[in-house]
């Protein structure tokens, strides 16, 4: 037993000075990670570690938005924002110059742009999946990740929206996409998948935004009330910027709480935590979850229709809709893990809310969706042969698989390695419970899912029916920097989110904590508490 007083330990943990699983003396979980990796089917593992009170959870989560930004945040934000600026310059350059600055050509007329579009829109789907499908499946562990995943959805859709917007060349004619009659009284063609895309992506962006915002209303109200209380009680602190060496630069006259009370107050719409309101709120939330689920399916299905409605070998295949959805969820979960695992280390007490079991569950979903994607690859391959269409078969063998024939074979095999082979490590329990391993695999999967879209788009296009039409695609520096810039935009938005908005769904988190149970009709049973026996 440690000689440190438990109070001291808790204090240090709350201040973010100490990490660890439990108060000394109560630590019975040695050897099982942080105590959430429960194997006994009769025991439920806790969703929030460290026996937190509601107040602790409020303090931890609101602290991320209220405390001065730590140094690492600036070290990440400044480069990310600069890269975002660079990406914006590239877009500007493209618009003033023309799509000729990109590497696409007559043969490969969709390339980098649409690859990036599908990549980003796919990243977004994990957010909706976690919010919606896991909500419907009553997977309570989703509360640990849903908010940040939903935020990623929004930011990814922002990045995705850029590419189809700019790839049309003359962006000032983008209004042709909308059902506005032009001077020749020509309506948009509603039988074109590209127009469905416009509706699908804009609906998705809108609904995700509504869903995310609605989830945040109560938490924004919490931030508002905290700032308000501090102002009323005179405990509000002036603005302080973290400086190297643990010092802070203080501006005595600037009180962020005044801005907070105003801005969070405005955004929280006067939410006052009324049960009558909560009741309708929960109904609305469930409805939004219910309609978001088919929405996610439809959005990526419609994206897949862009390809699958054509008769191009490699594109026309009926499994595309569910296969794209599975791939999107796969890539999206990978991105969620890729960003949250470092955040777990960087933000104090994050590990109490995002436990090893949460990571393990998400690793399992990566394995599952990875297998689904692998299944789709295999089915496609099998049917390409079974369909007995030599062009279809040629796309698979000559354009993708065979290194001797296919100039893009490296892309295909990168995809197979990253998406199908690398997640297989998760069959081993020790590996799927190890954050470092999960992080590496998540990185592979993110790369692999980008290559999947590249393979689908470029390798199908670059060699069509006649050898005379064969060509190659290589990205230009503008292509590459635009994609890098979109990553910068994504990171910038995400870092701003981490700093200024509630990173966890506070109210939902509290609702799944054991104290939230209105009828805990069990008392002094000691060891059987939180075990199935409690249900009596």
């Amino acid at each position: 037993m440690s000689s440190i007083h438990p109070d001291q330990v808790t204090a240090e943990r709350l201040a973010g000075l100490r990490s660890g699983a439990n108060v000394p003396g109560a630590d019975v979980n040695t050897g099982l990670g942080d105590g959430t990796l429960v194997e006994d089917p009769a025991v439920e593992s806790p969703l929030v570690l460290g026996r937190r009170s509601f107040k602790d959870v409020t303090n931890i989560v609101c602290g991320y938005a209220e405390n001065p930004a730590p140094l690492w945040w600036w070290l990440a934000f400044i480069p990310a924002a600069s890269i975002a600026g660079l990406g914006t310059l590239m877009i500007l350059y493209l618009i003033v110059t023309g799509v000729g600055v990109w590497g696409l050509n007559n043969q490969v007329d969709w390339a980098w742009d649409i690859t990036n579009f599908v990549f980003w829109i796919g990243i977004g789907h994990a957010g909706t999946l976690i919010s919606a499908i896991l909500c419907l499946l009553k997977q309570k562990w989703r509360t640990a990740v849903n908010r940040s995943a939903e935020a990623m959805t929004i930011f990814a859709v922002v990045c995705a929206g850029i590419f189809p917007g700019i790839h049309v060349g003359r962006v000032w004619f983008a209004w042709f996409l909308f059902p506005i009659p032009n001077y020749n009284w020509i309506w948009p063609n509603f039988r074109s998948p590209l127009l469905w895309d416009v509706f699908a992506v804009s609906t998705y962006a809108t609904v995700s935004l509504l869903f995310w915002y609605m989830g945040m209303i109560p938490d924004l109200a919490t931030l508002r009330d905290r700032a308000d209380l501090r102002l009323r009680q005179g405990t509000s602190k002036p603005l302080a910027l973290a400086m190297p060496g643990g010092k802070a630069l203080v501006f005595p006259l600037v009180k962020p709480d005044m801005i907070r009370a105003y801005v969070y107050g405005l955004l929280s719409l006067g939410w006052r935590f009324s049960s009558r309101h909560w009741h309708r709120y929960e109904a609305a939330y469930l409805i939004l979850a219910g309609i978001s689920t088919p929405l996610v399916l439809s959005v990526h299905s419609i994206v897949s229709f862009d390809f699958a409605t054509s008769v191009l070998p490699g594109w026309h295949t009926t499994i595309f809709p569910p296969y794209f959805v599975a791939g999107a969820v796969f890539g999206g979960f990978a991105m969620v893990l890729f960003l949250l695992i470092p955040l777990r280390e960087l933000l104090p007490n994050f590990k109490d809310l995002l436990t090893l079991r949460h990571l393990e569950n998400m690793a399992k979903i990566l394995l599952l969706t990875g297998m689904m994607v692998g299944f789709a690859y295999a089915t496609e391959f099998f049917i390409a042969w079974y369909g007995a269409n030599e062009f279809e078969w040629a796309v698979f063998i000559n354009n993708r698989v065979n290194p001797a024939e296919a100039p893009y074979a490296w892309a295909y095999w990168t995809m197979i390695f990253c998406n199908v082979i690398s997640p297989q490590v998760f069959w081993v329990r020790a590996l799927r419970q190890n954050p470092a391993v999960i992080w590496v695999v998540a990185g592979f999967v993110t790369v692999g899912m980008w290559f999947e879209r590249f393979v689908i788009i470029v390798t199908s296009l670059h060699r069509a029916w006649l050898p005379g039409e064969w060509g190659m695609f290589w990205p230009t520096w503008v292509d590459i920097l635009t994609f890098v810039g979109s990553c910068g935009i994504f990171m910038t938005l995400f870092l701003l989110f981490v700093k200024f908005l509630p990173t966890f769904a506070l109210a939902e988190l509290k609702a799944v904590m054991p104290q939230a149970d209105p009828h805990p009709d069990h008392h002094d049973e000691g060891e059987t508490k939180r075990n199935p026996g409690e249900a009596f």
């Binding site: 808790t10 209220e66 299905s301 026309h316 297998m371």
Partner: protein, 467 residues
């Protein structure tokens, strides 16, 4: 208007509101052990409580001795008569037609069993506590997967021996066809039989295991009824992970073998998913029927409640919509692409005589259940969900009719029997379904109606849908 006195001191104690890092005193030493393993003594206490639980008394969670024997025998009799009539009509009327009718029945039953097997494994993986009270019925259905597999044996034998009845590629009729020659590595009678055997091994082992050697997911659950060993739950979960992989490999291939290859020109990568979606939906439908019947006869009172029905109904709704999504996507992409090898499948079925059936399926398999199941009332009602289950099962049969029956009279110039043929269809389907129904009743009566000693059972009994 009344005046009230206002106290000077406003509010309660001063509220402390801090930034993060403000220390709250540690919570009092909580009495809940965060121990990863429960002691056996504590678990035994839980089991004792379960055993003494008033809802889990024998006349609520078990069928009476000999119950269902009569109706089971009647169903078996009907089944045998139906099958005999089918065989008779095969000789006097049309062999191909009789085989098609029989196959519609067999594949309906197989779909229910495979869908149930999938759901059992999925629910094990999800660790969803509320399913503890309904899982046994899914297991009962899944563990009968050997019945439809065995019923497929005559189909396989007839196809191979007679050189292709519905699977025309087996015969000499298309010998020399370029497409068929290309596909010969997959479409040959030997490979077909080998795969048929492998599917059987996979499904039956997954569901029932090999006696005394490998346990199956369904037999593990029954073993737990007797031993009360909670670690069996974890074992079932582990098995389910690998099981789902084998399932995902075998079911689509089986659907290619038996259904898609009826028209050997046709191909669709979605086919396996399409069959799978219908299978899971029909498994849920059959489970709802079984549970409704049991509840109507006074069993499972307070054990399977409106709350469980609500969630089962949600699953039913979800898979109805999922089926529609998959079916529409498949149809839509083929319609849009308009490539002859693919389009022929739908052209044949959405024009001419088969067009009305296509419309019925769109309306009955999606639109009607969508609007009925979206309401809370239908899902929470014993009769409502049971009837929806029956309705969807009929739709599943019609869907299989839609897949199989148009392949019977495909020779140019051959007129179908029209509505006269429907009698043969009915006889074939009812025969198989009744036979399976008899087997299912015997299976249900053979043990407890719920997993009596499941570690999550107590929590499942208290399950409630908020909102």
């Amino acid at each position: 208007m009344t005046h009230v006195h206002v106290h000077e001191e406003h509010g309660g104690p001063r509220i402390e509101s801090g930034y993060s890092g403000v220390v709250t005193p540690p919570p009092p030493a909580a009495d809940h052990g965060e121990g990863p393993v429960m002691t056996d003594a504590a678990y035994q206490k839980y089991l004792d409580k379960l055993a003494a639980h008033p809802l889990l008394r024998d006349d609520n969670v078990r069928l009476a001795e000999g119950a269902g024997k009569g109706i089971g025998a009647v169903l078996m009799g009907v089944g045998l008569i139906g099958l005999a009539l089918t065989v008779l009509l095969a000789f006097v009327f049309n062999t191909t037609h009789a085989l098609a009718a029989y196959e519609v029945g067999v594949f309906t039953v197989l779909a229910c069993c495979l869908g149930a097997l999938f759901l059992v494994m999925l629910l094990n993986m999800l660790n969803a506590y509320w399913t503890a009270t309904i899982r046994r019925q899914l297991e009962n259905i899944a563990s009968l997967v050997w019945v439809p597999w065995l019923l497929l044996l005559p189909v396989a034998v007839i196809e191979v021996v007679s050189g292709g009845v519905l699977l025309r590629w087996m015969g000499d009729e298309y010998a020399g066809n370029v497409l068929l020659e290309h596909k010969a590595a997959f479409l040959n009678w030997f490979g077909f039989l080998v795969r048929y055997a492998i599917y059987g091994v996979i499904w039956i082992v997954l569901a029932n295991g090999v006696l005394g050697v490998i346990p199956g997911v369904c037999s593990l659950s029954r073993e737990q009824d007797i031993t009360g060993d909670r670690w069996l739950t974890r074992r079932a979960r582990r098995m389910s992970g690998f099981g789902l992989l084998l399932f995902a490999l075998s079911v689509p291939l089986a659907s290619f073998d038996f259904l898609m290859s009826m028209d050997f020109r046709f191909f669709s990568t979605m086919w396996g998913v399409y069959i799978f979606a219908g299978a899971v939906m029909s498994a849920i439908a059959l489970t709802a029927i079984v549970l409704s019947v049991l509840r109507t006869f006074g069993r499972l009172t307070g054990v399977v409640t409106a709350e469980h029905y609500h969630d089962l109904g949600k699953l039913m709704f979800a898979f109805t919509v999922f089926w529609a999504y998959v079916a529409f996507s498949q149809y839509f992409l083929i319609w849009y692409g308009n490539i002859p090898e693919e389009t022929n499948y739908f052209l044949h079925r959405t024009t001419g005589d088969w067009q009305p059936l296509a419309t019925i399926i769109v309306i009955g398999h999606f639109i009607v259940p969508f609007f009925l199941l979206i309401t809370r009332k239908t899902k929470r009602n014993t009769l409502g969900l049971g009837l929806m289950g029956a309705f969807l099962l009929v739709m599943q049969i019609l869907d299989l009719v839609f897949i199989i029956r148009p392949m019977v009279y495909v020779e140019p110039g051959v007129e179908g029997p029209g509505y006269v043929g429907w009698a043969l269809d009915a006889v074939g389907v009812i025969g198989v379904l009744a036979l399976f129904g008899g087997a299912l009743i015997a299976k249900i009566a053979s043990g407890p109606l719920i997993p009596l000693r499941d570690p999550r059972l107590a929590k499942a009994l208290k399950h409630k849908n908020y909102v």
